[in-house]
Symmetry: C2
Subunit: 131 residues, 2 copies
Amino acid sequence: MKHDVVQLLTGRAIQPSAHRVAVAQYVLSTEDHPSAERVWESVKARFPMISRATVYNTLNLFVEKGLLRELHLSPDSVVFDPNTDPHHHLIDEETGSIHDISWDRVKVAAIANVDGYEIHDYQVVMRGTKK
Amino acid sequence: MKHDVVQLLTGRAIQPSAHRVAVAQYVLSTEDHPSAERVWESVKARFPMISRATVYNTLNLFVEKGLLRELHLSPDSVVFDPNTDPHHHLIDEETGSIHDISWDRVKVAAIANVDGYEIHDYQVVMRGTKK
DNA sequence: GTTCGTGCAAACGGTTTGCAACAAT
DNA sequence: ATTGTTGCAAACCGTTTGCACGAAC
């Protein structure tokens, strides 16, 4: 597992420092969509000396290198999504938690040729509550 | 026009103070999706004495009363949408500008019964560039 | 004279940045 | 020696808040 992460980093031209590996291990294996602050807390459990700045820099680097995606769904903070394949999102209106919805669970038609724009990317953002 | 705005405010139990009317006139008539800062700048042109805090408070009040919607599509700032009917959004990846896409321009199917959640609301968020 | 809107400035919170120290090669 | 990573603290910026003033009814 640690091995896989190192490969993932080097495969994207990211030097696999200890801190980066620790961040990657956490953020790539969680089902959550953690904020930077949350990543920091989790990684600190095993690397108490890691600084907030390093976590922020590392996450930004990962986004830049395509290992993670940033989501801007809430005003509170940016969250990170280890799932870089196309998919949709469901936001629990009570808890604020974000759930992935697989691409084929939702059918979207007639996206092309909107307003003379070329669409590079789209997703459905849903809000709801557990029933 | 000013008359309409006053009616809109009173109809939502908002006291139509001069500042609130000025904010409403601007934000309800623009095609843009302005940030609070942008609203402030625009309103200041005619009401130079209006304070930032008042603009923020006013916009939040309008959202609370259902006159506006907040959009959290960019990490930079919250923007406000005078169009409270269901519709989709297209974000210009170059300029960051946000465009409304009418509800029936996009067909979304099979939204119901996702993960035991009840969906209250959804929209398609697209990103692209002018071609 | 109580209620409500407003301005100001300070506080806040998430994020970025400058800089000095350090590690790796 | 050079290059790249890290920690710290300060800066930053959008937004909220406390408080005192002032207007309206």
